[in-house]
């Protein structure tokens, strides 16, 4: 046997994927949470419509422009977030941070658009509360909470990258944040279709 071979140090133990695994479970939980809300929403809407009722109150203003803007903003943010992953895998920390910052800026735009839409919808004021209003506010409100958590997560991972914790050898934080972000975009896509387009 070759001595050089026998004297080689043992291979380092496989890197723990704690963060990725946990975020995977977290994403599953968030998807199931919204899955539960969508199930209730679609069921209740079909019940009302099956007896000829009107689901959205007549005086409500659910315009498609804000959700359309939100979905396009989010779709672009997917590419930007992937840019952060691409950059950190190549030790390009400068562009990774630029991408994380841009993603957060887009996230802020999404929150502003959400806020504006909620203030315009007029779901409750004129005709009193409705089950549709309850469910739409629950879904959109829950989404905004999940979205703010996502922004904090991305920002935190960005700060960690800034501190040098992530590089081509350890990308888990940025990858985990990007996966959570993509799941948020996926959830909004369902909201866009099920709540706003097919209202």
């Amino acid at each position: 046997m070759n001595m050089a071979t026998t004297n080689l140090p043992a291979a380092p133990p496989a890197r723990s994927r704690n963060l990725l695994v946990s975020v995977g479970f977290g994403i599953a939980a968030v998807l199931m949470y919204f899955g539960g809300l969508f199930g209730v929403y679609l069921r209740e809407r079909s019940q009302v419509r099956s007896v000829g009722g009107s689901w959205i109150p007549d005086k409500a203003h659910i315009e498609l422009t804000p959700p359309g803007m939100i979905i396009w903003t989010l779709l672009i943010s997917v590419a930007v977030m992937q840019w952060a992953v691409y950059s950190i895998k190549r030790d390009d920390r400068q562009h990774a941070l630029l991408a994380v910052g841009t993603t957060l800026a887009m996230g802020a735009m999404v929150l502003v658009q959400h806020g504006w839409q909620l203030s315009q919808m007029n779901l409750v004021a004129d005709e009193g509360p409705t089950t549709a209003a309850t469910l739409i506010y629950t879904i959109v409100g829950s989404y905004m909470v999940a979205f703010i958590i996502g922004m904090i997560f991305v920002a935190l991972m960005g700060f960690r990258a800034l501190a040098g914790q992530y590089s081509s050898r350890q990308t888990d934080g940025i990858v985990a944040a990007s996966l959570y972000w993509y799941s948020l975009v996926f959830i909004y896509f369902i909201i866009w279709i099920a709540v706003f387009i097919a209202k």
């Binding site: 479970f25 919204f34 509360p129 629950t138």
Partner: protein, 572 residues
């Protein structure tokens, strides 16, 4: 500090091997050590069990005189409903789930050879959030809050405090969120901290069962939270429309305590029995993969987030629901068969944990059989007259049995089976957790008391289900179709005595823990491995030192202490 680092300064107190010094108050309140967190969960969870059973006894006493205000005279329907619903929420969220997560937080890292739980500070946060949340919830329910009331227009209704009700909803959401966080920490440990050579199929059965159960909880509990969120948002409005109306809140949340979902909270009972029994017999578990598949199948058959009668009133007649309710018997039977097959090849050594674990699995089997009867009405719905009075009577009964207290009997059997399984785990792992063995005879006494209590309490509900006592709470319709009112009242009295026995069974365990561990009267000789364990947790000191293992373990089979690495496991 990365997420894998294990100890904070306050945890250094346990660095000495075999010491139970948890580091005083700083070790309790500032700990992120999985061992201290596990012990805290166990302490609080057992206390929660006492509270849940006391509430259950009050409910059973009220039912002794059915159809009217009972002997305890709750005074108002909402006070009775608060007690009834709190007995369920505390049994699940204050006892079973925290005990399982606590036991897993302590044992799983040791079984998978990890130096700590993944995200130890998140696990500590989860514990304290859970503890604070459940205390707020209990206080708000006693302050006229709670999760709704059965009939606000009833002459017995007294009205609820809306602010307390709102806080009840928020606090229970906090509790479930915390339990989910604790579960994710356990799951991440199982998946990402296994040692070299340990695949998922070489996990010890308790860790495997926690992986399956935790996965189901992570998928199902968020759906329950979404129901709660809808109720809460509607409750905020000046006039709740539907979801937040007090008579509807519990209806939306009750599926968690019903079949098939309730079985997800007893999956680890199989894992505990699967770890305990082969060690007690001194032989390896036979058909290990089959046992793992049985546990996995039980997980798949217990996912019940779809079975929400409030939104889908016809769900009990749908094929998926019926088939799942009937098939749930199979994995438990297969698992039990595997245990019997193993026991035929070993030398039985009677111990408290052996008896408790067998009682736990048998209680689960009874629950599954009761579940099969409870859901099978639609399956026999098409059967015409058989011209046999007994069979015709059975078919007729199966058609009518849904909505009776048989559902309560299933829930009670499952959750008490879980408690018994957890106590089996406590007796088995007590040297590892506390450094002292619990008293064998007291454990056997506890097993017999719990078995007797469950037979009387759960058994009386089964019989009252047969007698058509309805499962509606504090509503005259619950008693409209009862065959024999006197018999139902008699068996509710028997059930109340059974609940007292259950309380005594848990009380005995707490007493044993106090005497054996806190007063240090238990046997601490051979505490490192008194049973000749097969899995990694027995390879280190009891209680384990900081970091758990001196060297990272290397394994290549599911019984590393029985078959050290490179010698291979037995033939399957």
């Amino acid at each position: 500090m990365t997420e894998n680092q294990t100890e904070t300064g306050s945890n250094a107190a346990e660095s000495a091997s075999g010491s139970l010094d948890i580091g005083g108050l700083a070790g309790v309140f500032g700990t992120s050590d999985h061992k201290n967190i596990g012990r805290l969960y166990i302490f609080f969870g057992l206390s929660g069990g006492l509270l849940a059973l006391i509430l259950n006894i009050l409910v059973r006493f009220e039912r002794i005189n059915i159809g009217s205000v009972g002997v305890l005279d709750f005074g108002s329907s909402n006070q009775f409903f608060q007690t009834w619903s709190l007995s369920r929420t505390t049994l699940l969220f204050f006892c079973v789930l925290p005990l399982l997560i606590g036991l897993a937080s302590y044992i799983v890292p040791l079984q998978v050879g990890a130096p700590s739980l993944s995200f130890p500070r998140a696990a500590a946060l989860a514990f304290w959030a859970w503890a604070i949340g459940i205390m707020i919830h209990v206080v708000t329910v006693f302050a006229d809050g709670g999760l709704g009331e059965p009939d606000p227009m009833s002459q017995f209704a007294q009205g609820m405090d809306p602010e307390a009700t709102e806080l009840s909803m928020l606090s229970i959401a906090m509790v479930v969120f915390a339990l989910l966080l604790g579960t994710v920490c356990v799951l991440a440990t199982i998946i990402s901290q296994r040692p070299q050579g340990m695949t998922l199929f070489e996990l010890p059965l308790f860790s495997w069962s926690m992986l399956i159960a935790g996965g189901i909880w992570v998928l199902a509990l968020p759906v329950w939270l979404s129901n709660l969120a809808v109720s809460w948002v509607d409750f905020q409005g000046a006039d709740a429309l539907r979801y937040g109306a007090v008579e509807n809140i519990w209806e939306q949340l009750s599926w968690l305590w019903s079949q098939p979902m309730i079985f997800a909270f007893a999956i680890p009972v199989l894992g505990i029995a699967g770890d305990v029994l082969p060690v007690s017999l001194g032989v390896p578990q036979r058909k290990y993969r089959v046992q793992q598949i049985a546990i996995g199948a039980m997980g798949a058959l217990s996912f019940g987030a779809f079975a929400q009668p409030f939104f889908n009133p016809d769900v009990a007649n749908q094929a998926v629901f019926v088939v799942m309710g009937i098939l749930i018997v199979l994995p438990i039977l297969v698992f039990l068969g595997g245990l019997v097959d193993t026991s035929l090849r070993g030398n039985l050594s009677i111990s408290a944990h052996l008896i408790l674990s067998v009682v736990g699995v048998l209680a689960l089997l009874v629950a599954a059989v009761a579940s099969a009867f409870h859901v099978s009405g639609p399956a026999v719905g098409g059967i015409q007259e058989i011209n046999d009075s007994w069979l015709d009577g059975l078919v007729s009964w199966l058609r009518d049995v849904q909505g009776t207290v048989l559902a309560t009997a299933v829930m009670e059997h499952v959750l008490i089976a879980s408690v018994i399984g957890i106590i089996a785990g406590l007796y088995y792992w007590s040297p590892k957790i506390f450094g002292y063995q619990l008293n064998r005879n007291v454990g056997i006494l506890s097993a017999l008391t719990l078995l007797g209590g469950l037979a009387l309490s759960g058994g009386s509900n089964i019989i009252n289900g047969i007698l058509d006592e309805g499962d509606e709470v504090y509503h005259p319709s619950a008693y409209e179709g009862v065959w024999d009112t006197n018999a139902v009242e008699f068996f509710n009295t028997v059930g109340a005595i059974g609940s007292l026995l259950l309380l005594a069974g848990i009380g005995v365990v707490i007493l044993d823990l106090t005497i054996s561990v806190i007063l240090r009267k238990g046997n601490d000789e051979n505490a490192k491995d008194p049973w000749g364990g097969h899995t990694l947790e027995w390879a280190t000191d009891s209680p384990p030192p900081t970091g758990n293992f001196t060297d990272a373990p290397v394994v290549d089979n599911e019984r590393p202490l029985l078959f050290p690495a490179a010698t291979g496991g037995d033939e399957q």
